[in-house]
């Protein structure tokens, strides 16, 4: 593990992870010594990183920090990823953002999310059936954690699995930290092609169901521009499934590493929602959140953030801030406090938060009900953490039952 004096600003992203998929130690170092810390992105651009929970809340809630990165030369991780797509919900501020959010919100409320429980359970059981009759030991990522989010998300969005699966590589390239800017731009274009195919099909069928259908319907009624329809739909394709793979895989590992707490959940399934919250506090699905840009000069902790500068936050900075969470390094499903900081704050607070919770609760419960004795088939130190992509996850989790 890195020692404190190993670090010096500007930091270089991506950062080395802590043990077992825990946050990069450099985040705690920055929180303590450089609360506004310069970070060099793979693109070569430099941004500021804030790591204290209160500062992160400010960044995410104050209008002076804009989400609009749809201009040439905006801060980017690598190249023109989905932050460069005009009309995307993620990339809009103020009233335009609120208008789109209003169309989608009814599809992502806690009760709307709960209505998917049965469907999620059905897909989970199908995959577990196959896993049970297949090789033992098996790779949990390949058997369960990778395919389940994709299947479920295709149902939520009402699109064919094969069509979406064909574009998985494009999504991975878009979020990769080790490809060229041109590769990222090409992957973003490919995702927009897929979006166009899907919108065409929904328009032809007059399908106004689900979140994508609602966007198509709103565009037909003139509430939404064609650009906003495409930009926002493509973001939903990107965000609906892959971001769930890391917590599903990493969370299962962390639960197996804490057998007492896992056994408590198996014995008393009402504990799963708490366990899910703690997994989501303990592991975010990525490290550095995508940049915002300052629209005027701001001074924070004596550091001048100039208009036009990019500012990023790791949500792990908030969820491991010892001022808000006692002994943040302790995995404790009985913890209380703000258990939604992993999903951000302010107007862009994760739209899929309630859905992600329902998904993970159902998926963990099904997995450990089927295999209550599941254990790692390799030493935990061997697990291969992927750090060359924005989403942090073990590439494999060999398990036995």
């Amino acid at each position: 593990m890195s020692r404190v004096d190993d670090f010096s600003p500007p930091l270089r992203y991506p950062f080395a992870l802590g043990p077992h998929g825990t946050p990069p130690p450099v985040i705690a170092w920055a929180r303590k010594h450089h609360p506004v810390c310069p970070v060099l992105l793979p693109s070569g651009q430099q941004v500021w990183m804030v790591t204290r929970k209160d500062d992160i809340t400010r960044l995410l809630t104050q209008p002076v920090f804009s989400r609009d990165l749809v201009y040439p030369g905006a801060p980017r991780f690598v190249g023109e990823d989905f932050t460069a797509v005009p009309g995307g919900i993620f990339n809009l501020d103020g009233a335009d953002h609120a208008r789109i959010r209003h169309i989608l919100a009814p599809h992502f409320t806690p009760s709307a999310a709960a209505r998917h429980t049965e469907m999620i359970a059905r897909h989970a059981e199908g995959l577990l059936d196959a896993m049970e009759t297949g090789l033992n030991p098996a790779d949990l990522v390949e058997a369960y954690a990778a395919p389940l989010p994709l299947r479920v998300s295709c149902e939520v969005l009402g699109i064919p699995l094969e069509q979406r699966a064909a574009y998985l590589d494009a999504f991975r390239t878009q979020t990769s930290l080790v490809v060229s800017a041109a590769d990222v731009a090409a992957a973003t274009a490919a995702t927009l092609d897929l979006t166009e195919q899907i919108i065409k099909a929904k328009r032809a069928d007059g399908d106004h169901n689900g979140p994508l259908g609602a966007l198509v319907g709103a565009e037909a009624e003139g509430v939404l521009s064609d650009e906003e329809l495409h930009g926002t739909a493509s973001y939903l394709l990107v965000t609906g499934s892959e971001p769930l793979v890391p917590p599903l895989a990493t969370g299962a590992v962390t639960l197996m590493r804490h057998p007492d707490q896992l056994n408590a959940c198996v014995a008393e399934e009402e504990l799963w929602p708490q366990a899910v919250d703690e997994v989501l506090r303990y592991h975010h699905n990525g490290v550095l959140g995508l940049p915002r840009v300052a629209t005027e000069d701001v001074t924070l902790h004596g550091v001048r953030i100039a208009a036009g500068d990019g500012v990023c936050a790791p949500m792990l900075g908030a969820t491991w801030d010892p001022r808000h969470y006692r002994h943040p390094e302790k995995f404790d499903i009985h913890r209380s406090g703000d258990m939604s900081a992993t999903f951000g704050a302010g107007p862009h607070f994760c739209l899929g938060g309630a859905f992600a919770r329902v998904f993970l609760t159902t998926a963990y419960a099904a997995l450990f009900r089927r295999f209550p004795d599941l254990f790692l088939a390799v030493p935990e130190d061997d697990l291969p953490w992927q750090v060359d992509i924005q989403l942090i996850r073990p590439a494999r989790v060999p398990v036995c039952w």
Binding site: N136, P137, V378, P384, D388, A395, P398, C400
Partner: protein, 246 residues
């Protein structure tokens, strides 16, 4: 440190006290570059005692610019379940065997002055964090389903491994279970240079890889070793073997 250039006459050359046998002139040339060696260890057969591992690692460290060690991963449990063992027992036995090899390799690297020995001992699991490995692994799994040369090589390797654990001819179903093990190792003899970020690399093992030889020699129409990929059989000096037996 460069290896003395040896002329490829017979298959045997000597590097230090070790006898090194290559299968082709190309492999010999790659061996002579001595840029990178990947020492493959194998569990269960009792050959790789800590002493021998130490001698091998010291040999690699002395004669090559870089040395890495590969120990088989969780897939070896499939050989054991294929041979009839329960999954739980198979996993525990595989983990124990891998741990012994790993400890021996880490100690050996450390005594060569390596300050980060853990980072040079690999399994199919640890390598899965490297795109070069996972892409190749996916590729060989795909070709296994359609290229008869890859299929035959992997099935025969699995069959051989099974035979050391059970009596008689393994059934096709047993082979189905055990084939994940050769599939996990195949990337290393096709493109260890990409996996270890080097121009050339020699994989060394204590014996020829029998059924995988056609793939090592590039006889499959779908997957073949890259130009910088070498393979060699390395035999320690009799003194080291005596110590191993002693």
């Amino acid at each position: 440190m460069p290896v003395a250039i040896c002329v490829f006459m017979s298959a045997n050359t000597h590097i230090g006290d070790f006898t090194v046998r290559t299968l082709s002139r190309r492999h010999q040339r790659i061996l002579n570059r001595a840029e990178h060696v990947l020492i493959g260890l194998s569990p269960f057969n009792g050959y790789y005692k800590p002493r021998l591992v130490r001698d091998l690692v010291a040999w690699g460290h002395h004669h090559f610019d870089r040395t890495d060690v590969f120990i088989p991963g969780w897939e070896t449990a499939h050989t054991l379940t294929g041979a009839g063992m329960s999954p739980r027992d198979a996993v525990h036995r595989s983990r124990r065997a891998a741990k012994r090899l790993r400890n021996a390799a880490v100690d050996a690297l450390r005594s060569c002055g390596d300050t980060e020995p853990h980072t040079r001992v690999h399994t199919s699991t640890t390598l899965a964090s490297r795109g070069a490995y996972t892409r190749l692994h996916e590729r060989v799994r795909t070709e296994y389903a359609r290229d008869p040369v890859v299929r035959a090589a992997c099935r025969e390797t699995a069959r051989e491994a099974l035979r050391t654990h059970c009596d008689g001819q393994p059934s096709e179903q047993q082979v189905d279970l055990a084939v994940s093990y050769p599939l996990a190792e195949l990337p290393l003899i096709l493109d260890s240079p990409a996996i270890f970020a080097t121009e050339s690399s020699v994989v060394v093992y204590h014996r020829e890889l029998g059924p995988l030889t056609p793939l090592i020699l590039g006889r499959s129409p779908t997957v073949w070793p890259v130009a910088g990929q070498g393979f060699a059989v390395v035999t320690p000096p009799p003194t080291a073997l005596e110590r191993r037996e002693g």
